[in-house]
Assembly symmetry: C2
Homo-oligomer: 192 residues x 2
């Protein structure tokens, strides 16, 4: 178990580089996980995020009912799982998480799924301004209330993929289930 | 000149993989370019985007005055330029674009800067729902009204970085001016 807490004032950095995420949701005894390429950081501290969640999804229904969600950052080793939960709807398959072989644990603050094997987890609470943008734009705004990351790839307050196995790199969706892994670091800025 | 028009029904794909962007703005004879890591696609067709633009920036003032903006996707060869326009404010330096050696042309529909050397350009019009989220969350929602990309890296309707020079890869901000380049494609999904 390599997941370690990320201080909330560093949690905004988990999405800075634009990874595809898994959105976890739960209301009562119903839980779901979907894939989303359209997610980004919204603020530093308290950390906030935004994610597009279509009205047709079970995830949207569960998030609106509960007011909470989780975001997990999957890694290259999980590309098959990301495609599976992105292609199948929890509406059509109440046993979607079993069918897609998603191993998860409930987040301590929200009960939302934290997917095993992901390299970062965040639990989030929906923000009031969501009421204005969820209708016209399917946009959910949320505050991050807890965060963890795999300390093989996130340490000293930021991602360090280059020193870890390639399977732990984040995924970046292009189109139609095609992904790039995050690549190599550019030379750092000159110190002045 | 390798920039070719991108059909609007494919423009959402320009940001799917989470690159850092340059935000261009113009009002009257004042133009500016800033860097932003927090930008994402919001919808397919018509294509829409969202980007976080702090109230303290000149960019925000110009975008609010004009109702338009541009988003450019810079490449690895431009890391120095991205850091420069990210570190310096157009408020402090009216000649920021010259100081940062930003070569640009005005977009045909908006007049906003399209930065030479970037691998994609979008011109955008601010959407009405922005009124609800710009205040509390600095979030600007916009419709993409024109788009271009460098056909060495974007063709057949999506990015193909792996067949082009590494300098043309998109940049993904981690923290403090540290960037990763986008990496290698994962094996494609199995055809069924």
């Amino acid at each position: 178990m390599a997941m370690h807490p990320v201080p909330l004032d560093r949690a905004s950095r988990l999405l800075n580089h634009g990874p595809t995420v898994l959105v976890g949701s739960r209301h009562g005894d119903r839980a779901n996980v979907m894939a989303a390429a359209w997610a980004m950081t919204l603020d530093f501290e308290p950390p906030k995020v935004s994610v597009v969640i279509d009205k047709a999804t079970l995830t949207r229904t569960l998030v609106e009912a509960s007011g909470v969600l989780s975001l997990c950052v999957p890694c290259a080793a999980q590309a098959g799982l990301v495609r599976a939960v992105g292609n199948e709807s929890g509406r059509d398959h109440p046993d979607k998480l079993d069918r897609c072989q998603v191993a998860w644990e409930p987040g301590p603050l929200t009960g939302c799924p934290l997917v095993q094997g992901a390299i970062a987890w965040m639990e989030c609470r929906v923000l009031p301004a969501t009421a204005h943008v969820a209708g016209p734009h399917d946009l959910i705004l949320a505050e991050v209330v807890s965060a963890w990351a795999d300390d093989r790839v996130f340490f000293n307050g930021r991602w360090h993929f280059e020193t870890a196995p390639p399977d732990l790199r984040s995924l970046h969706h292009v189109a139609g289930g095609h992904f790039y892994a995050i690549g190599e670091p550019l030379p750092p800025p000159e110190t002045r």
